[in-house]
């Protein structure tokens, strides 16, 4: 069977395109059960995007959950590999989360990949490249924002302020809120050089070739230098293979420092008001779950893609074929089969459904087909 691309919605097209993409780079499909033990999510509550998990009791009384997240399940099923083997998997799963807008549970189709094991520069760059190619599969107008948690933690972690204030600082960075950051620094008594570093981190965004020298100029210590080296190597490699114009450095892409450690990124396509791809290096989460290995991965949120299907079908059906009791079923069937060749949509009805829009209205009677209305 050949598939007509125009029949598929953006989300469906993306699923096929992404699967083929990940397989080309040697990623193996990972299929998981719909349910997971609730404990897994309780232990890593802050890692989840929202608080809510749908729970229920299994027949033996065990508390189970409809999975709100895929990454935790993949880590749970991973083994610490010896040597330099990394396991590369991709998935296409429904997750259940509380919608930020309606505050009710929502089913979200999510596709993504995880690379677990000995993560080196190649593996990291490959994952970022696949993130770019994933966005390319969805839309031709796309951008990937790249940041590095290492630089952030090099500046924020040593500060003698409460965890709550550190969270507020991260929040200001996420909001590009320079005035808020200045106020916050003043209220917690952070010294001026720190405040300056934090505000320049907010204003340092754009092309890597312009931003990286500004980051170097912060002199934020060894950890930060290593992080900048990583960003530099990754962005230079991507530039060489033609993705230079698609990658920006932007520290407003932030996340919880207790789970993420290295590069972090978010992808955007024009026409969708929020990020549709999110991922990064989460070695700290691995450690919390008792793994020695490193890990990096990302997820693409496919439910947002229907916003790209702006051009709805103008007609509900191409041909509305009316018939009555007296019609010869075999003849009617033959007429529908002939009309529907070449992909024309034919709806056979005894009366006109309310509000239907059809290109052509036909009537099947004893004398054959009769055109009642023609919209072309």
């Amino acid at each position: 069977m050949t598939l007509d691309d125009t029949m598929l919605k953006s989300g469906e097209q993306a699923v096929f395109g992404l699967r083929a993409l990940y397989q080309r780079y040697g990623y193996a499909p990972f299929k998981m059960s719909k349910f997971e033990e609730y404990d897994l999510y309780v232990e890593n509550k802050d890692f989840l995007v929202g608080d809510g998990v749908i729970t229920f009791n299994d027949t033996d009384g065990k508390l189970l959950a409809l999975k709100p997240d895929v990454t935790l399940s993949i880590i749970k099923n991973s083994k610490d590999e010896e040597n330099a083997v990394t396991s590369k998997v991709y998935y296409n799963e429904n997750v259940y989360r509380i919608s930020k807008n309606t505050h009710t549970f929502k089913e979200i189709l999510q596709t993504g990949l995880e690379c677990i094991g000995n993560i080196d520069m190649y593996a990291m760059t490959e994952v970022v490249l696949l993130a770019l190619k994933s966005l390319e599969t969805v839309s031709e107008n796309y951008l990937l924002d790249l940041s590095h948690i290492g630089i952030l933690s090099a500046i924020v972690e040593p500060l003698a302020v409460s965890q709550a204030d550190k969270k507020k600082m991260i929040r200001c960075i996420g909001e590009k809120n320079i005035h808020g950051m200045k106020e916050l620094c003043a209220s917690v008594g952070a010294d001026e050089t720190v405040c300056e570093k934090l505000t320049s981190l907010i204003s340092a965004y754009g092309k890597p070739s312009e931003v990286l020298p500004k980051l170097r100029a912060l002199h934020a210590g060894e950890e930060a230098e290593r992080a900048i080296d990583e960003l530099e190597l990754i962005t230079q490699t991507l530039e060489k293979i033609g993705y230079g114009s698609r990658v920006n450095i932007d520290f407003s892409v932030v996340n919880d420092m207790s789970y993420y450690s290295g590069i972090f990124f978010r992808g955007f396509v024009q026409g969708i008001p929020e990020g549709i791809l999110s991922g990064g290096r989460y070695d700290k989460l691995m450690k919390k779950m008792g793994r020695k290995a490193g890990a990096i991965g990302f997820a693409v949120y496919l439910d947002m893609l229907e916003l790209l299907d702006a051009h709805e079908n103008e007609y509900d059906t191409d041909i509305l074929l009316l018939y009555d009791e007296s019609a010869d079923i075999r003849e009617l069937m033959r007429a529908v089969t002939v009309l529907s060749q070449n992909g024309t949509r034919v709806l056979a009805q005894k009366s006109i459904p309310q509000g239907i829009r059809c290109r052509q209205l036909l009537k099947y009677g004893n004398g054959g087909l009769e055109i009642l209305e023609n919209d072309d």
């Binding site: 930020k100 107008n141 909001e175 809120n177 808020g180 407003s252 008001p273 990020g275």
Partner: protein, 211 residues
């Protein structure tokens, strides 16, 4: 043709003042001053489109990308917590979120505090920070009435001059957070129109400094 930058302005006095700052920054749209029933106003040459919305709706328009930029009070941002960039503090529309009560009110920490407010999230967070057990009473207007009739012990509301409070024998007892108008931007749209959005934000920052 340039793609338009959509800007949501809050209806009312504050919005008109903010439009003045856009004008000062060189992003004017003369048709907005015509007295008619139009909802959107464009300046094609400058590539901007303004529209008036209810102040509490600005954040929704921006978060969902219908507007690229918007002007919203910090009270709205704190209450609804939208996922947007907060690019600039315009320093106008200044007031404060405050706790107020009857002059005779004495706080008894041994009792649950009854708090009437329109801003339930702000109030809840403020008292959670003090580990104070409260009973939130959500009201949509005439908040000042609540302590007078004994519906609540205190209110959490916006205080500008304190005149309304005074006329009703109420006094502000604590500031929760200072409020002013902020420029917010949709995160995704910012990526694709960053140069132009930055130019507008810079223009507004300049106008702020000049005023």
């Amino acid at each position: 043709m340039k793609t338009m930058i959509n800007i949501a302005l809050p209806k009312g006095r504050l919005g008109e003042k903010v439009y003045g700052m856009f004008e000062q920054a060189g992003f004017d749209c003369p048709s907005i001053k015509e007295n008619n029933r139009k909802l959107t106003f464009e300046n094609e040459e400058k590539g901007i489109r303004f529209f008036w919305v209810k102040p509490s709706d600005v954040a929704i328009y921006v978060e969902r990308g219908a507007a690229d930029l918007g002007i919203a009070g910090k009270d709205i941002l704190l209450e609804y917590n939208p996922d947007v960039y907060e690019l600039l503090d315009l320093g106008i529309g200044k007031c404060r979120m405050a706790v107020a009560a009857k002059k005779t009110f004495r706080d008894n920490p041994a009792k649950t505090l009854r708090v009437a407010t329109k801003f339930t999230n702000i109030a809840r967070e403020f008292y959670a920070g003090k580990c104070r057990d409260i009973d939130i009473i959500h009201l949509n207007g005439s908040i000042e009435l609540a302590p007078i009739l004994g519906l609540s012990d205190v209110i959490v509301d916006i205080v500008e001059t304190g005149k309304t409070l005074l006329e009703n024998d109420l006094v502000p007892i604590e500031t929760v957070v200072p409020i002013s108008a902020r420029v917010i931007a949709n995160k995704a749209n910012f990526k694709f129109k960053s140069e132009r959005i930055e130019a507008i934000a810079e223009g507004l920052a300049r106008a702020c400094r000049e005023n």
